[in-house]
């Protein structure tokens, strides 16, 4: 088939599953509303309703996907107009095309599995119904984000995801740490949203439209300065949602939420939004080379930072969070490269969605069996007692480190190859990141499932119930084979081409490139190193002090300390100063002035104790006199 290097135009569509694509959003939204308003009576079936709504959404997505497949490649972009949202600024509609439908499938499928898993994981929580309401809301918002055909609709979904994550991270809000983490996530995201908003304003000021179709078709006419500005502003937004440097700090605290939330945030929704935004806005970035360069630099910096953080964490969820940062960094890197990288960015996003959900839910399963213990130094030897969790986790692990033929091998190495071709420095740094990934992920697996049992005396680990293990099994199948399916024969790249374009020459898959072999070797070294330190050797119960490098990584590269020193403390001082100034400065001045006009401060006090009416009267009389005088003078 001819590779399409240009984006196809959008065809208005009605009928079939695409015509009712809004149902994808409506189902979970209705679920959220019903569960929140339902009251205690719906406690019994609330979680089932939540699952049903997520699955229903998946069914619509699957039907729409097959409908899209049925069209000729050049006709696979379908617009579904909905209504006039903000007259004069934006009509809202949905855009069902290969890019958005790929996201929809990922979000609804992995999202549904996370819903099902949560039935078991949250079975003892008295607020389980509310939890499912928020999960539904999360899915609905994310679907709006990827389906909207314009930047306002996208922004509504974008902030909706922020709200849902706020509610879920702070789900156990009686814990001050959870409440603080939730607030932090929302505020840091808002910093990103601020950038995105200004980007949207610039788009509107430039094109007087926010519809993708209008903006992208006219983008070529805008100056590269304008496009660069827009690109960089969109990138700020992407950094917030996708936890890229320098707006990464919220992600590591976001572990305060129940574990399925982490799986949802890290795999199917939220952090992928930034990658989506960059890929979707391709026509803008392609006219702004400087912005693209910054995108790739941010991606590489974050993929290394996340990996380094991952090496030093003893908390299993935090180690995984570091790996999310890192993997999203790979996607952002690929997205910054342009059409050659888009398909790999999204393919990795999809396979990552599977293996990261698998890993997070697996971690949840471990915690579920270990009295919610998260410290890996108190794990060890769990492979015997939790066999299903172990095997599925192992597959996810092999996928993320890029073990040959598993998903990550195809998608992550695809990114590395493309990066290498684009710019050797970026390429080698991405290879280095892969090596570190090999180390920290192996460390995590060895500390958890291998070695001596270092359990607390009260721990009685057991395998999780079927409702939790089945989602793990299904996800691990994806982690196994999805990468090969998408990448071999450029299946996914060809599919995406009408939506995002494709390189002039389609890449051919070659397992024996120099880059690929070096990557594999580095990963193997990382694994071996981890084995000698954490598999074969005894793991100390208390983390050793380590070098300054270890401390650097443990403290999240001092991201929080930096934020505190740069923003929080000066902000607190500014706030105090402003409050003081407002009370004493402005108000004092005005009160003083009033007292002065009134004659004396004694007079002022008298007014306050009840002589106001006479004072008011005197003002009225005075006003009338003054006005009369003006009339006379004016008429003279």
């Amino acid at each position: 088939m001819e590779p399409a290097s240009h984006v196809a135009s959008i065809i208005a569509h009605s009928g079939g599953a695409i015509g009712v694509a809004w149902l994808m959003i409506a189902f979970p939204l209705i679920g959220a509303a019903a569960l929140l308003l339902g009251g205690r009576a719906s406690d019994k079936y609330g979680h089932l309703l939540g699952v049903l709504m997520a699955v229903a959404s998946f069914v619509v997505a699957a039907l729409a996907f097959f409908q899209v497949l049925g069209f000729q490649p050049g006709e696979r972009r379908r617009g579904v107009p909905l209504y006039d949202f903000i007259p004069g600024i934006a009509k809202v509609g949905l855009l069902v095309d290969p890019l958005s439908i790929s996201f929809c499938l990922l979000i609804t499928f992995v999202g549904s599995l996370i819903h099902i898993y949560s039935i078991g994981y949250m079975s003892h929580d008295p607020a389980r119904r509310r939890f499912f309401a928020y999960l539904n809301l999360f899915v609905a918002a994310m679907l709006l984000l990827v389906l909207a055909d314009n930047y306002v609709g996208l922004f509504v979904g974008w902030e909706g995801v922020g709200l849902a994550s706020y509610l879920l991270i702070g789900f156990w809000q009686h814990k001050p740490s959870a409440a603080t983490a939730a607030k932090k996530a929302f505020i840091v995201n808002r910093v990103g949203d601020f950038g995105l908003l200004i980007g949207i304003f610039t788009i509107f000021a430039t094109f007087h439209s926010l519809a993708f179709a209008d903006v992208f078709s006219a983008a070529g006419g805008a100056s590269s300065g304008t496009l660069t500005a827009i690109g960089l502003l969109l990138l700020v937004g992407a950094c917030g949602k996708s936890a890229q440097l320098p707006l990464q700090s919220w992600l590591l605290d976001a572990m305060e939420g129940p574990t399925p939330v982490s799986a949802l945030i890290h795999a199917a929704t939220m952090v992928t939004a930034g990658v989506y935004l960059i890929v979707r806005s391709g026509p803008i970035f392609q006219g702004a080379e400087a912005a693209q360069l910054v995108v790739t630099i941010v991606g590489v910096a974050t993929l290394l930072a996340g990996a380094i953080i991952g090496t030093a964490k003893d908390d299993i969820k935090k180690a995984l969070a570091g790996s999310t940062m890192s993997q999203i960094g790979y996607m952002v890197l690929a997205a910054g490269i342009g059409p050659a990288g888009y398909a790999f960015a999204i393919a990795h996003l999809i396979t990552h969605g599977f293996f990261k959900a698998d890993l997070f839910l697996g971690a949840g399963s471990v915690m579920h069996g270990m009295n919610d213990e998260v410290n890996m130094r108190k794990y060890g030897g769990l492979r015997k007692v939790m066999p299903i969790t172990f095997v599925t986790f192992l597959i996810g692990y092999l996928a993320i480190i890029g073990f040959p033929l598993l998903s990550g091998y195809f998608t992550k190495d695809g990114i590395i190859e493309v990066a290498m071709e684009h710019n050797a420095i970026l390429g080698w740094l991405a290879v280095l990141g892969a090596g570190i990934t090999g180390f920290y992920m192996s460390r995590l697996v060895f500390m958890t499932f291998f070695g001596a049992r270092r359990w607390e005396p009260t721990a009685h680990p057991h395998e999780s119930p079927a409702v939790m293990t089945w989602p793990l099994i299904i996800l691990s199948i994806g982690a196994l084979g999805l990468g090969a399916f998408l990448i071999i024969g450029n299946r996914f790249m060809t599919f995406l081409a009408p939506a995002v374009g494709a390189p002039e020459e389609l890449p051919s898959f070659n397992p024996f490139t120099a880059t690929g072999l070096v990557t594999l070797a580095l990963v193997a070294i990382g694994v071996a190193f981890a084995w000698f330190r954490y598999g074969a050797a005894e793991v100390p119960a208390v983390a050793p002090r380590g070098s300054f490098l270890t401390t650097f990584a443990r403290r999240d590269l001092y991201g929080d300390a930096l934020n505190e020193a740069l923003f929080m403390r000066p902000g607190q001082w500014l706030t105090r100063l402003a409050v003081f100034f407002d009370n004493r400065g402005i108000d004092g001045l005005v009160n003083g002035l009033a007292a002065f006009i009134g004659g004396s401060s004694g007079r002022m006090r008298r007014i306050q104790t009840g002589f106001v009416r006479s004072y008011a009267l005197s003002i009225f009389v005075g006003a009338a006199l003054l006005a009369g005088a003006w009339l006379v003078v004016g008429n003279l």
Partner: protein
């Protein structure tokens, strides 16, 4: 049918009726019924308004003081209509919310509810007035019921707050009175009718002086920075319901006045002072938000958020683009619902615990989840979360402003971040964390309180997803206003070729 006079007449008669009822409970029910009748009538009027018809509709004009050319003239355009709708929707909600608020007052319960209805008539009148002198009369007269509502039914510092409110407002009113009379005499038309006065002052220097007379009055009323210091005191001391009417409606007269009078009567002066007003607005947005973050008293905090929000409204008015102007008008409406919900729910909470201080709370979510949940929704509307109507108006104001004044719009947009901080931090300190000993016994919202909150949240949601009905009414009026000022929207740098249009 003389719709507007009927609305005011029903309110005034209702106010008189309330004072005649002997029984307090009956008086409350009577007030509620009257306010609902006014609401129904207003809706009946609104559906007959044709957005693309005459600028002013439901016109009534009678001579009042013929020798001075003063008229009783009322009518509405789209801007006035939506603000009247805001007022009459808020009144029954406030009545229901204030059910027990007047019991500890210095005066009788009946008087309180009677004052609400008197105020309702004046709120309708002030937005509907087409005679500048009549507008001034309503503008000043509105102070009186509000003064008594704060001074006789408010918190511990009520007399200080009420007097401060009155003095500030009277000072502004005085300046406006001078400007009104000067306008009358300079125009030399022997009439105070607004439509006859438009375009009569040609001399730019004169325009500037008259503009300032009106503007300072409105800037105090709204309030804009640095004229805002009366508001936190008044809002914190007023009973919650009165605070809603004060911040939700009365203050809007300031921003409404800027849009209607400052722009149309003195277009050249308005353009001259635009940089100044935009500067004040942007400072107010950031300053109000920062001071809000530092508040320890819930009601003062909400008042400062309004200082920030009024900055957005004034910014939208003076950016003089269709999007910003329409956004500012919509902002006035949405802010009424949003801040109304915040004040009322905070009021419910304060009523239970007997303290306005944030530090006296903690973990309320655990004992009163509905109260906490609705408070969060109201808070989210204050931080302009998409999906709630406040987002639409803030987005329009900022988009519209950015087209002409890029840097001020960017600075103003930082309010988006600051709002998240002041709202979520307040929410965290009051609702999250371990449940404080002192709030363990708090009841959740009762049925009456839910009836208060539900319509507000419903309105925030409905107009959050479908603001078109309001904007369809607002747009023509704003376009008309801007064209009479003589400004047109900036053109896009890269026009999009619209297919099929």
């Amino acid at each position: 049918m003389p719709w507007l006079s009927t609305l005011m007449g029903v309110s005034v008669l209702g106010a008189l009726g309330v004072t005649l009822v002997r029984n307090d409970k009956l008086a409350k029910q009577f007030t509620l019924v009257v306010s609902l009748i006014v609401l129904a009538l207003t809706v009946g009027m609104a559906v007959q308004f044709s957005p693309n018809g005459d600028k002013f509709q439901f016109v009534e004009t009678y001579d009042w003081i013929p020798s001075f050319g003063v008229h009783y003239g009322v009518a509405v355009d789209g801007i006035a209509l939506v603000l009247i709708l805001l007022s009459v929707i808020l009144v029954p909600i406030v009545v229901l919310a204030s059910w027990h608020d007047a019991e500890a007052g210095k005066r009788s319960v009946r008087t309180y509810f009677s004052l609400i209805l008197v105020l309702e008539a004046m709120m309708i009148g002030v937005f509907a007035a087409t005679d500048v002198f009549l507008f001034y009369v309503f503008f000043e007269a509105m102070l009186i019921p509000m003064y008594f509502m704060i001074g006789s039914y408010g918190g511990a510092q009520r007399s200080y707050a009420a007097v401060k409110f009155l003095l500030y407002s009277l000072f502004g009113g005085l300046l406006m009175l001078v400007a009104v009379i000067a306008l009358y005499s300079i125009a030399g038309k022997g009439t105070f009718m607004f439509s006859d006065l438009v375009g009569t002052v040609q001399d730019v220097t004169t325009q500037k002086w008259l503009f300032l007379g009106f503007f300072v009055a409105f800037a105090i009323k709204a309030p804009l920075w640095p004229f805002h210091t009366w508001l936190p005191d008044a809002a914190a001391q007023a009973p919650a319901g009165a605070a809603v009417l004060l911040v939700g409606v009365l203050d809007k007269v300031g921003t409404y006045g800027m849009l209607r009078f400052c722009l149309e009567l003195f277009p050249d002066a308005a353009k001259f002072f635009t940089p100044l007003v935009i500067a004040l607005s942007v400072v107010g947005i950031v300053y109000g938000a920062i001071v809000a973050i530092g508040q320890t008293d819930m009601k003062r905090l909400i008042a400062y958020t309004s200082v920030s929000h009024f900055g957005f409204i004034a910014l939208g008015v003076f950016a003089m683009t269709t999007d910003a102007g329409a956004g500012a008008t919509l902002y006035m409406v949405n802010h009424g619902f949003s801040t109304g919900a915040l004040f009322l729910i905070a009021g419910f909470l304060i009523h239970r615990r007997g303290s306005q201080f944030i530090a006296d709370y903690g973990g309320v979510q655990k004992v009163a989840p509905v109260l906490a949940g609705t408070f969060l929704v109201a808070g989210l509307s204050s931080l302009s979360l998409p999906g709630l109507s406040t987002f639409v108006s803030e987005f329009m104001v900022l988009t519209g402003t950015y087209q002409r004044y890029m840097v001020p719009a960017i600075i103003a947009a930082t309010g988006v971040i600051l709002a998240a901080i002041y709202i979520l931090w307040m929410y965290q300190r009051t609702m999250n964390g371990p449940t404080a000993e002192s709030v363990k016994g708090l009841r959740d919202l009762n049925a009456r309180e839910k009836f208060v909150v539900a319509p507000l949240i419903a309105l925030l949601l409905i107009f959050g997803f479908y603001p078109k009905p309001l904007l369809d009414v607002i747009h023509p009026a704003v376009k008309d206003t801007l064209s009479s000022v003589g400004v047109s929207d900036p053109a896009p740098a890269v026009p999009v070729a619209k297919e099929g249009q």
